[in-house]
C-alpha cells in the first residue's frame, strides 16, 4: 500500500477530537441516568461496576480527544493535491489515446481538453 503523506490524518483528527470530548459528557452522565432508567424499568444494575467503566471511559476519551485536538490543530494539514497525486490510475486521451492521469483536464501529449 502507498505511504500516505505527512499530515493526512489531521482532517480526521479535527473531527474526532471534539466528538471525543462530547463523549466525556455521555460517560459522566452514564451511571446516574442508567440507574434512573433501570429503576423505572424495574431492573437492577451493578452501579459500582458501571461507575468504574464510566471513569475509565471518561479518562480514555479525554486523553484521546486532547491528543487528537493537539495533533489536528498543530502543524500543516496535507494539501489536497498531494493526496490526489497518489492516484496512479491512467485513462487514455479520447483524441490521441496517450495515457493521462485520471484527474487530468488537458492532454499532456496533444493538448486537447479532456471532458469526462
Amino acid at each position: 500500500m502507498m505511504k500516505l503523506p505527512k499530515g493526512t490524518y489531521k482532517g480526521l483528527a479535527k473531527i474526532l477530537g471534539p466528538l471525543l470530548l462530547w463523549m466525556i459528557a455521555g460517560w459522566a452522565a452514564y451511571p446516574p441516568l442508567l440507574d434512573k432508567i433501570s429503576l423505572a424499568m424495574g431492573e437492577t444494575v451493578d452501579i459500582d461496576e458501571i461507575k468504574l467503566l464510566s471513569y475509565i471511559m471518561m479518562t480514555a476519551c479525554a486523553m484521546a480527544g486532547i491528543i487528537f485536538i493537539i495533533y489536528g490543530y498543530t502543524g500543516k494539514e496535507v494539501a489536497d493535491a498531494e493526496i490526489n497525486a497518489l492516484n496512479t490510475e491512467k485513462w487514455p486521451c479520447p483524441v490521441c489515446l496517450s495515457p493521462q492521469p485520471a484527474e487530468a483536464k488537458k492532454c499532456k501529449n496533444c493538448g486537447k481538453n479532456i471532458i469526462r
Binding site: M2, T8, K10, L12, K14, L19, G26, M41, I83, N84
Partner: protein, 178 residues
C-alpha cells in the same frame, strides 16, 4: 463554513437523510444475518438470551450498521463526483452517523416507552450524549475520501474495519457491564 468550503446544506442534508434511512437497511440486514448465522454459531439455543444479545451487539450490529451508514456518501460521490477534502468527507461521514443515531435513539426510546415517557426521554438523551455512530462514521467517511482520491479501496476497507471494531468494543462494554 470556512473550514469546509466545498460543503453546502444540500450535501449535509443528503448525508443526514441517508444516514437516517440506512437504519432500515441495517435493521433488515441484521435480522437476515442473525437468522442465517445463528443456527451455525449457536446450534443449541441457550436458555439464557444473553449470548444471543452479545453476539448481536458485538459482531452483527457493528458489521451491518457500519456498512449501511456510508450509503449517502456512495450516492453523493456517484451522482456529483465532488472534489471534497478528506476533512469534508470525514465531516459528511459524521453527519451520516448523526442521521443514523437520531432514528436509532428514537427507536430505542420507544422500546422503553412502556416504563413512561420520562424514561424514554432520559434514554434518548443519554444515547445522544454518546456520539459513537458519529465517531465511527467519521472514520469510515475519511476512508471513503481516501478511496475516492487515491482509487485504492484498501483505505476504505481498513477504516471500515476500524469503525466496526470500535463499534463492537463499545457495544461489548455497554452490553456486558451496562
Amino acid at each position: 463554513m470556512k473550514s469546509l468550503p466545498n460543503l453546502n446544506h444540500k450535501y449535509i442534508a443528503i448525508a443526514l437523510g441517508f444516514g437516517a434511512l440506512s437504519t432500515l437497511l441495517a435493521t433488515w440486514g441484521e435480522m437476515g444475518l442473525m437468522s442465517d448465522t445463528l443456527p451455525i454459531l449457536m446450534p443449541f439455543t441457550p436458555r439464557d438470551s444473553t449470548p444471543i444479545t452479545i453476539l448481536m451487539a458485538v459482531l452483527i450490529a457493528p458489521f451491518v450498521e457500519e456498512l449501511a451508514k456510508p450509503l449517502g456518501l456512495y450516492l453523493i460521490n456517484a451522482e456529483e463526483k465532488p472534489n471534497f477534502t478528506l476533512k469534508e468527507w470525514a465531516f459528511l461521514g459524521a453527519m451520516t452517523g448523526l442521521g443514523f443515531a437520531i432514528v436509532e435513539n428514537i427507536l430505542y426510546g420507544s422500546t422503553v416507552a412502556d416504563s413512561g415517557m420520562e424514561t424514554a426521554g432520559w434514554l434518548i438523551f443519554l444515547r445522544f450524549l454518546l456520539p459513537l455512530h458519529m465517531i465511527a462514521s467519521a472514520i469510515s467517511g475519511f476512508g471513503f475520501g481516501l478511496w475516492v482520491k487515491t482509487k485504492n479501496a484498501k483505505y476504505f476497507i481498513i477504516c471500515l474495519l476500524i469503525a466496526m471494531v470500535l463499534h463492537g468494543l463499545f457495544n461489548l462494554a455497554a452490553t456486558v457491564i451496562g
